[in-house]
Amino acid sequence: MKALAARRHHRFAPVVLLLLALLLTGAVYAIAQPASADAAQAAASESDIAAGQKLFQANCATCHGPNAEGREAVEAGAGGPSLIGVGAAAVDFQVGTGRMPAQMNGAQIMAKPAQFDDEQIAQLAAYVASLGAGPSIPTDEQLDTTNADVALGGALFRTNCAMCHGVTGAGGALSQGKWAPALDETSPAHLYEAMLTGPQSMPVFNDANITPDEKRDIIAYLETQREGSPGGLTLGSVGPVSEGLWAWVIGIGLLIGASVWIGAKSS
């Protein structure tokens, strides 16, 4: 202890202390991080990449090519884009929402129950991420909406997203049978990854366009939408058409029923 005390005033002491503090913070942070982040962290390991490659060869290579270099569609249902550089985020989104592996090439590839478990998805993501630099899976910190600016999120959502997904994320139509899906059940991570990678018809919203904080704000805004509406039932949140439909069905329906009762002779 004496030695330590003696060097307390060494001119490098502050630097060493700072390094120690950083190390400590990092260690504490690593421990404090929840398990999923651990998995993401661990995904980078060599064994995961190897396991991911195996899964890829077995399930994805038919369309995307044996080395994920992509393949032109030569016959119906057998063509897919190159996955080099799409990043782990794209894999986590596409496979995690069940869109990949695709059942068939249609106007749009549908979301369905995921075909792989979380570990397998992480392995596939690690493999694809190892092929070329691309967006990575968002961390829990990035998805933490506790301090989010819901109002800014709403404004950004209306400018960048509402034209396809509707003002509350109820979804909407695109051309030629495609559609923008409803967002009410999409997980925050998938929302984030979709913005980052631009799956299918959706444009990419990189961090220069919508910053990570703004992405978090948008996710927070969508979470408030899940509380429903202060006015009562939302009627699908699709606007005046469903309101008109219910005005006729419920309103005019009940009132004509009442009219028939009033006009009928009492027995």
């Binding site: 400018t159 444009p203 990189n206 408030t224 009562g232 009762w261 009033i262 009492s266 027995s267």
Partner: protein, 343 residues
């Protein structure tokens, strides 16, 4: 009046005295009245009365409920509390109203005299004698005023009546359109060197930051400092996308794009909705209002829907710092067509 008719098919009753059948059937007259249960059964009558009383009571309770809800359940700050407040107040009002309405109708139907009555109609037109008197009255009046003989007076009166509204209409028409400078709708604030910034955060955009497949919603820099930012924004909004330069088949002017980055007016050439919907894979821009579809890779030509003209393209380049700027303003008026657009 309430003669009961034999519902037989016997036609002899309708035969004339000479035994011939009439051209048409005759109206058999009012059908027989059927009494209600309550008309003979005092118990049923009493029951109906009780029901009416109960209904009015429900109304009273509903109104009291609404007042209690008003006092005890404020809308608060959460969606749930707002919904509860709205629901309780509304249900109270509903019961308060429905109780009265149903009670009154039930009263009328079950307790009030339900014998139909018949009233004669008379022709709508006035009797001839009345018409004669009316015409007479008008004639006398016209004669008293001697309007028929005083032509100049008549002319002066008609002219003055026709002219006086002008002193209201002229100032109205003069002012209702503001300064009436309709040519303003042909101009936007885009000019050479205006930076493209993000809507609504107003961050400038570096070309290097625009990933392939991106859609950026863009406004011109300096919009907020204007007197009427919304008026200018309504004309100046731009949708900027980047695609692989090899996919770009045509553009509206040579060199108007920058390395696969193209910028188009976001105001539809149909009726002016923001055509904001970009499909990354097909490079189609779709208007959510009326589904006009434009091909961003092909000079924004119309591929479907009610629009005729392509979205005007904003020629862009980068400045010294690498930020995207306009090469120039739009070369044609943006937005929906109008009569003097090309003049």
């Amino acid at each position: 009046m309430s003669t009961h008719h034999d519902p037989s098919t016997d036609l002899t009753t309708q035969r004339g005295e000479d035994g011939t059948l009439p051209e048409r059937f005759e109206d058999p007259g009012h059908p027989e009245h059927h009494d209600r249960q309550g008309d003979h059964d005092p118990k049923a009558n009493k029951r109906a009365e009780r029901q009416v009383v109960v209904l009015f009571t429900i109304s009273i309770l509903g109104t009291i409920g609404a007042i209690v809800a008003y006092a005890l359940v404020p809308p608060g700050e959460t969606v749930g509390s707002m919904r509860l407040s709205n629901l309780l107040l509304g249900l109270g009002l509903f019961l308060g109203l429905a109780g009265i309405g149903v009670a009154a109708v039930h009263w009328a139907k079950s307790l009030m005299n339900d014998h139909e009555k018949s009233e004669e109609r008379h022709a709508i037109r006035s009797e001839d004698s009345v018409r004669v008197k009316a015409v007479e009255a008008l004639r006398e009046g016209a004669k008293d005023s001697a309007i028929g003989r005083r032509g100049v007076l008549k002319g002066a009166m008609v002219t003055s009546l026709a002219l006086f509204p002008l002193s209201i209409a002229v100032p109205l028409v003069g002012n209702i359109g503001g300064d009436w400078d309709v040519s303003r709708s042909k101009r936007t604030i885009w000019k050479r060197g205006t930076r493209l910034v993000l809507d609504p955060t107003a961050r400038p955009i570096k070309a290097a930051d625009v990933t392939i497949g991106s859609a950026f919603h863009v406004i011109p820099e300096g919009l907020e400092e204007l007197d009427h930012p919304l008026n200018e924004k309504a004309k100046a909004v731009v949708l900027m996308v980047r695609m692989d330069p090899r996919d770009l088949r045509s553009e509206q002017g040579e060199g108007w794009s920058y390395d696969g980055i193209v910028a188009f007016s976001k105001i539809c050439t149909h009726v002016g909705c923001p055509v904001a919907l970009y499909e990354q894979q097909t490079h189609h821009i779709l208007c959510p209002c009326h589904q006009s579809t434009f091909d961003a890779a092909d000079g924004a030509k119309v591929v479907f829907g009610p629009a005729k003209r392509p979205l005007p393209q904003l020629p862009i380049t980068v400045d010294d710092e690498g930020y995207l700027v306009a090469q120039d303003g739009f070369s044609e008026p943006i937005g929906p067509s109008f009569w003097e657009r090309l003049t």
